[in-house]
Amino acid sequence: MYEFSCAFALTTVGAYLILLALGKNVRWLGLPAVLAAALTLGLATSVLYTDSEQLVPALHSYWLAIHVSTAIICGGAFYAAFASTAVYLARESYDKRKAAGLPNGPFKIPASVFERMPATPTLDKLSYRINAMVFPLWTFTIIAGAIWAEAAWGKYWEWDPKETWSFITWVVYAAYLHARATAGWKGRKAGYLALLAFACFLFNFYGVNIFITGKHSYAGVG
């Protein structure tokens, strides 16, 4: 978990820097990105730290680079979409309050903070696009994990807790994309579903590893 957390912080910041390098107007994403990176590294170096050791034999496979790397990249990108969704919900709440004639945003945050954020359609579009773009990679991550499981443990799928929660995360993201594309969901409803999906992802990484024992328990914590 220590190594995964370090790499997760990296991909979170990396997703932000890539969006900046592509010329997107996402400097507002800087604060959530470095905040998450600092917290993730803090957690990694304190609670999750283990000394550097050789891999257990079961992990000696080229699939490690494929399956785990893609999972980490998905995590970073999903976080960028999550931050965009969260800012969207805040901005949309402010817009409603402004239309109702109230002076400040939610939680009495000054209006000037919200006025400097992108407009709600921009934020909604960004989170949708990032989630849609990364979803196939997450699908690949799960399938690659299944192929590796067959090579390492003899079965493609055993409903191991990590496998199960990866699948649950996949289903919730699929529901989000389906709701947007087919049912035309947008706005707050879609935003809440995106938040739920990222919560599943976080539980998949932190919760399952720490609290539930299964075949993925290599971390040496919990």
């Binding site: 400097r27 604060l31 170096t45 050789q54 034999p57 407009a119």
Partner: protein, 178 residues
């Protein structure tokens, strides 16, 4: 769960730890720089104007309908002013007959959405902090990469070596005899 402690380059492992701690420190500095950007941006012209307009909006709503009609007419007009390198908006919708009305790139959804100018507003000082924050973020990311890389290098198998590990202590009485 017993794992091998041998075969680890402790110097590289230590270097990895230092890089990760440094990355964390640099990210925290970047976070402070972003916070300054947001804070000083609120003293910029745009932020101040938005506060004025919030109170102007109150006054306009309380005033007679000709003002409201003028406001509506203003919203139909479209002028796009290009900002330095991103989306479109520089000036806000004017309420009292001054300035230009700007709208973001239309998505045809019927809404007239206006992207904010970003954390720095129009304040140069805040923009400087924003640039400092981005530079620190890049540095933090490089240190993070180094930390992850050195951690991996610390357990690199020697070239041509096979993936072996010392056998786990056997519990079988038969192997204990050999």
């Amino acid at each position: 769960m017993s794992l091998l402690a041998s075969g680890v380059n402790s110097h590289l492992a230590d270097l990895s730890n230092k890089c990760i701690w440094s990355a964390m420190g640099v990210y925290v500095l970047a976070m402070f720089a972003h916070m300054f950007e947001w804070t000083f941006g609120s003293k910029g012209a745009v932020a101040r104007r938005s506060v004025e307009q919030a109170s102007l909006a109150d006054a306009a709503a309380a005033a007679a309908s000709p003002t409201a009609a003028a406001k509506k007419a203003k919203k139909v007009t479209v002028t796009v002013a290009a900002a330095g390198g991103g989306t479109t908006t520089l000036t806000r919708t004017a309420l009292a007959g001054e300035g230009a009305t700007v709208v973001t790139s239309g998505r045809g959804d019927g809404e007239q959405a206006v992207d904010g100018p970003g954390a720095a507003g129009s304040s140069e000082r805040a923009d400087m902090f924003g640039r400092i924050a981005i530079s620190l973020t890049v540095l933090g990311a490089l240190l993070n990469v180094a930390g992850v890389a050195f951690r991996g290098f610390s357990v690199m198998r020697p070239r041509g070596g096979t993936c072996t590990s010392s056998p786990a202590p056997s519990r079988s009485p038969r192997s204990a005899r050999t």
